[in-house]
Amino acid sequence: MDWMIIKRVLVAGGKNFARGGAVSAATVLIMTVTLAIIASLIFLSALLTFTLDTIKNKVDVSVYFVTTASEAAILDVKSQIEKLPQVANVAYTSADEALAAFRARHATDQLTLQALDELGGNPLDASLEIRAKDPSQYESIVNFLEASPALSSGGASIVDRINYQQNKEVIDRLSLAIQATRQIGLAVVILFAIASILIAFATVRLAIYTAKDEIAVMRLVGASNAYIQGPFIVTGVITGVVSALLVSLLLWPATWYAGTKTASWFSGFSLASYYTSHLGIILLILLASGIVLGAVASVFAIRRYLTV
């Protein structure tokens, strides 16, 4: 195809779109709804990830050390645990820090503080709070800890207790819930995406159906299939681009409004600021979806009318 033909196809596609009137408007409207669904799936997925991460971050396993364990031995254990690939981070809390935190937490509870004073010294253990990359990995981390020779000093274990067994049921359930939510979320996203793509396809097909006599005439006056298809594909692409830009404009007020209404449910997650910070990639996804949908739907829709 030389430049002259490309130029003609582009111009004809642009004119088709501009002169399409109600048909172009209806196609843009439906494509806008389709892309808006795709955009909301992006937000839903981000929200889901944020919520699951928040929950995951609230889960950890604490290893409490006997009061006689030296700080050097505990830090040695810490550095070994940090080397495990499944560990996200390990935080060390010394016995003194634990005591300070305990006092701060019970600052208004005179009775507890009095009891603590009567005990004398520091009854609290130093501890390591281990956070895994995935909740399902806690078991293997704990297994490593229990088998590790670093946890014993001269034959006696320096570990007082690991709170994994108490938390195990909660962690297991949470792991299952997170996995199920991800799978259901993915299924919903795929389902909605397919449904909206089919709607867009049907609309483009309908738009091309209105031009089927025109296509037959083009064939009869000697136009090649590629020359007939070209402008329809260009029109489809323009429809996709216009719809993507329309959606990205509408998302500003929509995310701001939805953000103010949902801010109290999802503390720390703002739809509007997520949209602003991910504007480039979202716009790219919308444009790519619009262009691919418009072009592919046009190709499939027009093929059946090219047999004359």
């Binding site: 002259m4 004119k15 025109e214 083009m218 009869l220 006056v221 000697g222 136009a223 299939n225």
Partner: protein, 225 residues
């Protein structure tokens, strides 16, 4: 130039054309007449390769039309200009663009289009309607644009299927005059019609089809059914 060799076309068990044999020489002006459903349009569809014969062969010059693959049809159709009863203009293109489209489809350059289209618009007496869309034109004007589109690439043959079927007597007369002028310039013309006035005004060879068979073929004939 055109040769139908024992052509039969059946739709299911019904024969639209049966054993039709006829030939058309270059520069002829042929009127094909017959009742509705006689097979006139089927004959033209076979010539345009819109349909394939059930039996027999259709030749255009040395081309066996039946043997053309789908990918070569558009090259073949560029040799023929077509005019239809219902005009079949492209609704979202102006009169100018409708005529230019046939040139664009044939791969003609922009400068050729710029010089030829205004000339053809003058020829069909519609230069002042160049920027009108089909729904802004009368039936006669639409048909003249369709004729302009058919002749713009200077085809060897013009095929017109009931070109005056939707026109009033004045527009019918104008269209016939334009077709006669085109024929005088050396283009072969095949038209189908019901209109006795049209056939008599042309006064050239008339082929009569009845129930799928050629029943009369008169050089310089009149409309007789």
């Amino acid at each position: 130039m055109i040769y139908f060799d024992k052509v039969t076309k059946r739709y299911g068990s019904m024969a639209a054309l049966e054993e039709v044999t006829l030939s058309v020489a270059p520069k002829e002006f042929i009127s094909i007449v017959g009742h509705s459903g006689a097979g006139k349009t089927t004959l033209l569809k076979l010539l345009l390769a819109e349909e394939r014969p059930t039996e027999g062969n259709v030749f255009f010059e040395s081309i066996d039309v039946n043997d053309l693959p789908s990918s070569a049809l558009h090259h073949y159709r560029r040799k023929i200009g077509m005019v239809f009863q219902d005009f079949r203009l492209i609704p979202n293109k102006t009169a100018y663009e409708n005529i230019a489209f046939a040139m664009e489809a044939a791969g003609r350059t922009d400068s050729e289009i710029k010089s030829d289209v205004p000339y053809i618009l003058e020829l069909v007496n519609l230069a002042d309607k160049a920027l009108h869309f089909p729904d802004q034109l009368s039936g006669g004007e639409k048909q003249r644009i369709a004729i302009g589109r058919a002749i713009i690439n200077q085809p060897e043959l013009i095929v017109a299927d009931e070109p005056t079927g939707n026109l009033d007597p004045i527009n019918t007369f104008e269209v016939v005059e334009i077709l006669k002028k085109i024929n005088e310039m050396g283009t072969t013309i095949v038209i189908t019609t019901h209109n006795k006035g049209v056939v008599d005004a042309i006064g050239k060879r008339v082929i009569t089809i009845d129930r799928g068979r050629v029943v009369r073929d008169d050089a310089g004939g009149k409309y007789i059914l």
